[in-house]
Symmetry: C2
Subunit: 230 residues, 2 copies
Amino acid sequence: MRVPRLVDHDQRRAELGAAAIRVILREGLGGVTVRGVAAEAGWSTGSLRHYFRNQHELQSYVVEATTDALRRRVLPRVRRPRTASSAVEGVASILEEMLPLDAGRREEYALWSAIVEWERQHPSEGGSVTWNEQRALHRQAVALLRGHEPAQDLDRAALPHPDPEVELWAALLHTFVDGLAAQIVNTPGQMPAGTAGRLLRALLRAVPPAVPPVVPPVVPPAVPPARPDR
Amino acid sequence: MRVPRLVDHDQRRAELGAAAIRVILREGLGGVTVRGVAAEAGWSTGSLRHYFRNQHELQSYVVEATTDALRRRVLPRVRRPRTASSAVEGVASILEEMLPLDAGRREEYALWSAIVEWERQHPSEGGSVTWNEQRALHRQAVALLRGHEPAQDLDRAALPHPDPEVELWAALLHTFVDGLAAQIVNTPGQMPAGTAGRLLRALLRAVPPAVPPVVPPVVPPAVPPARPDR
DNA sequence: GCGGAAATAGCACATGCGTGTTAGTTAAGC
DNA sequence: GCTTAACTAACACGCATGTGCTATTTCCGC
């Protein structure tokens, strides 16, 4: 069999994905057109369409690739060990990594927003992946605040916490941080970085402390009791 | 002087505005095109362009008109007297009027979102009008929760409250409700109406009550500031 | 009546989009 | 060197958009 020139499709697609990300940052997900991305990458539309049959396939790939890229960028940052003067300060500095407080994080937030928009318009069964990951992060944050042992791996943090109070405050905190990020970008005049940080810390201080360790945080048998939430 | 046929421009523009609102609900603010709105209203583009010179003028008018219409629809509802079993319940039922919990309020939220998007892309000096109004509403809510006299008129509520704790919790609550609304529409699977209501009430219960004017901030050793029940 | 300004309807042009098709180019295997 | 499949580039079609321009209709004041 004769094998003509071969190119690495995955690598090509990654190259296109990088160009598409630049387009998203400049014009939003709606600007991710076949022509636009091809021009950004310096290719012709015909070439691009050897790797993506249509616009949906292109956007779908870009959303997936962007999600992965953001994960790889953000996760190490929130897992970075830090010297904090208090639990509140430690958790606040973690959560601030998620807020669009400077140019770099504003870019990341714009990408997250584009992904959320995509997920809203193309709902997948099993719920939003990014939502579940964010919830796990806030669950960890609240557990830390209340003095629980942090979950070892990320999969563990994806499960509901045995302490229902952790679940409740994780939901409250998650929702609040979502709103905070939205206000920072939508009404930056009314929500400058300093105000955002103060509000975040104020809410963290409002998280009630765990009751004294009558029962240490031993993971109980696999079945958590039915919780009112969710 | 000869006066030809005269039509009420304001009334025409209002008619166009109503058609544009229908278009926004169907296709978003991006769908507000000269052709689209004209077709929705049953006119030709040439006619429409006697009242709006270009697309920007059309969208600008629509945003303004929609803001006014929403104000007129929502304000009486949040001011409706209610019989509540508690302060938390009373405030919760007010704030729920702002959440996209049913078809009607989802429509209103979609319109609010379109306005916020417009304001973000076309920032005006003096900050966002809608943001300030929302903040005033939450300020009132927190004041109510803490047992203050409610402000008489709306202009009064637009000013910062003398109690700094009211200002702080108004900001926290405002941000939280923003996030709640966003999650309800963006990830409805993870944030159904019942959960949203429970989270809202949980946060309202976390608002610290006003200290009785007996002993303000005498901090007993090792006891964190006043906390809600439970 | 009727002149004429306002109002209306419609067309034309340039632009940008997704997508289908087609001709040219490249390079591995024979 | 030749063949052939993959790759590249470009064009064409249909559609939608904003906007400028031009007939056509309407109706008040004379």
